[in-house]
């Protein structure tokens, strides 16, 4: 055991780890928001509720059908993604020509509905979700104990984030997507089915949120309000990073998670508010955001 700036290394590294975990969720969620905003011009307020829905679906699968963590990691995002696509087809598609604010208001209403229903049926108390056996336990790294599950969350989200970045920035599909973001009319003229692409984009963004939710389930309890406080922080993350860049969203997400973790060590009273304070500073210094393209 040694000390850094008068803080035991154990405490420092474990908060750093928690910071990275939170950062993984910030990154996954802000990535989803950025992808959705790029195609739909809508800020998806339902994102937090869909994250919660991912955790709930995993919980219900285990409870009622005995389907465990690993299948749930695939099944829950697909199910939640499908509900997302239904929402896009039945409601969101009518709003694209209107002011942005209507998309925000509609998705806010949907978030209230989903959270309200979850609270009616499952109460406000958290429901525990069993950690998969394979990932129980931890490694002793000498300077700290590393729980396997937490390491897995960081690695898995990093992989998913980078995979998403690769698909969007480096493949044919991603090129079509980026082109449709810039000029949908022209892309349609090339014979690409843009409306279908929009639907799948929304489904994918929502699935990312649900994926984060499933991974969060064993760490935090599964509770109806787990998404609403998170989504507001993610909004601040998005304001800081700007939604113009995929890599920007990933870097900002992880970076802010780490900063938040460190704040918990050195100045615990400010750990809830540090991201908002950083947002205010960024707005003063670089109004367009760290990775923003236009002012």
């Amino acid at each position: 055991m040694f000390e850094i700036f008068g803080i035991p290394s154990q405490a420092l590294f474990s908060q750093l780890l928690i910071g990275l975990i939170n950062g993984s969720f910030y990154a996954l969620l802000s990535l989803g928001l950025a992808v959705i905003f790029g195609m739909l011009n809508i800020i998806n307020f339902t994102h937090g509720a869909q994250y919660m829905l991912g955790a709930f679906v995993a919980f219900l699968l285990l409870q009622h059908t005995g389907i465990g963590y690993w299948p749930a990691l695939i099944v829950a995002p697909i199910l939640v993604g499908i509900t997302g696509m239904i929402i896009e087809r039945t409601m969101l598609q009518w709003l694209y020509k209107l002011d942005h604010l209507y998309g925000l208001l509609l998705t806010f209403g949907l978030a209230l509905i989903i959270e309200g229903l979850a609270r009616n049926y499952y109460g406000s108390a958290g429901l525990p979700y069993q950690m998969p056996e394979l990932l129980v336990g931890g490694y002793d790294l000498g300077f700290m104990r590393l729980p396997i599950y937490r390491a897995w969350v960081i690695v898995a989200s990093l992989a998913v984030c980078l995979g998403t970045w690769f698909v969007i920035e480096r493949t044919r599909l991603g090129a079509n997507l980026r082109a449709a973001t810039e000029n949908p009319t022209l892309v349609r003229a090339f014979g690409i089915n843009v409306p279908r692409m929009i639907t799948f984009t929304y489904g994918f963004g929502v699935a990312l949120a649900a994926f984060a939710g499933v991974m969060a389930a064993p760490i935090y309890n599964v509770s109806p309000q787990m998404g609403s406080s998170l989504i507001i922080v993610v909004f601040a993350v998005v304001v800081i990073g700007g939604m113009g860049s995929i890599m920007g969203a990933i870097v900002t997400g992880f970076g802010l998670g780490v900063i938040e973790g460190l704040t918990k060590v050195f100045f615990p009273e400010a750990s809830n508010t540090v991201i908002f304070v950083i947002m205010a500073i960024v707005l003063l210094v670089r109004p367009a955001g760290l990775f923003g393209r236009r002012a």
């Binding site: 020509k97 604010l101 509609l106 949907l110 609270r119 009616n120 707005l283």
Partner: protein, 324 residues
């Protein structure tokens, strides 16, 4: 993806001429509010009036400036805290307590507004929401707010040292006077040269800039005015209900005021008042179904956005071809 920001507007352009229909509607509203306490529980009316003023203040920003603030609970809630604290702990009379709360909201509005107007459109909404959440955490941690308990048993006191507000009738008249003063002030702002420039900015900001208007100043002033009036509403609410609590600064409150303005009609003069009464009535009479209120609010949001974007008063005005 940016082209739609400027082209789309919240409401059809509003002509600035005063119309007979607004005058008539105002007379009906005043008359209804004057006789209402005979038939309706005054506590409900006073609460609804406070929220009506809150919704009107919010509407000033979105309906006429095109700026969607998703964090108006910040001004309402913090004004409520300061009014309650100054009345209870410092022993301020109600008029000074309300003034304290209002000035608090104005100061907070100036700081938050000058940050938020640095970004446009959807970012503006996210920034206001994030700043409000930050101040929610401050309210949660600070001692004077009483944390989860809030500030309870706030004394109503004597207005100007003479009028005892513990009497329900006196309190009602005071709240009605505050509401009407706020309402008329907003009406005046909307129809002033300042209000016209604000509408021009809503319709086409680059054009307003090219005409030589410093649009940031106009937006900031609109923001501060809106925050200040929300502060009047919050302070008055603290004196009327004799409580200031975390509910008033939390994000669902910000959502609620958006819902009130949306249900009534964004950018209409009377819409927010109607919306506030409907939402408060719904909460009061549906209190026994508990959590379902959230679900019902969500459904109303979705229905309003998909089917009745003009809101009740907006649809009525369009149907009758009058201004309301």
């Amino acid at each position: 993806m940016e082209q739609s920001v400027q082209a789309a507007t919240v409401t059809p352009p509003v002509s600035s001429t005063r119309s007979w229909s607004e005058g008539l509607a105002f007379a009906i509203m005043v008359l209804a509010l004057a006789i209402a306490p005979i038939y309706i529980y005054p506590m409900f009316l006073m609460q609804a009036l406070c929220f009506a003023l809150f919704a009107c203040a919010f509407n000033l920003l979105i309906g006429y400036g095109g700026l969607l603030s998703f964090g108006h609970a910040l001004y309402f809630g913090w004004a409520s805290y300061l009014a309650a604290h100054s009345a209870k702990v410092w022993g301020f009379p109600p008029e000074l307590a309300i003034l304290t709360g209002t000035l608090t909201a104005a100061g907070l509005g100036l700081v938050a507004g000058s940050l938020a107007i640095r970004r446009q459109g959807i970012y503006f909404a996210m920034i206001t929401l994030a700043l409000a959440q930050m101040m929610f955490f401050f309210a949660l941690q600070m001692k004077f707010t009483g944390g989860e308990d809030g500030i309870q048993a706030v004394p109503r006191g004597r207005l100007f040292g003479m009028i005892d507000l513990a009497h329900q009738f006196n309190m009602y008249v005071t709240v009605l006077a505050i509401f009407l003063a706020g309402f008329l002030l907003i009406y005046r702002i909307i129809h002033s040269p300042f209000g016209e420039v604000l509408k021009a900015i809503r319709e086409n900001e680059p054009r307003a800039i090219s005409l030589g208007y410093k649009t940031d100043r106009y937006k900031l002033l609109a923001f501060v005015l809106s925050a200040t009036l929300a502060g009047v509403a919050g302070s008055t609410k603290a004196i009327v209900l004799q409580i200031a609590s975390l509910t008033d600064v939390d994000w669902p409150m910000s959502g609620e005021v958006v819902l009130m303005a949306l249900v009534g009609g964004l950018g209409t003069v009377f819409g927010p008042v109607a919306g506030a009464f409907i939402i408060i009535a719904m909460q009061t009479y549906l209190a026994q179904v508990g959590q379902w209120v959230t679900v019902i609010q969500g459904v109303i949001f979705v229905l309003c956005v998909l089917l009745f974007r003009r809101g009740i008063i907006g649809e009525l005005a369009a149907y009758l071809r009058i201004k309301l």
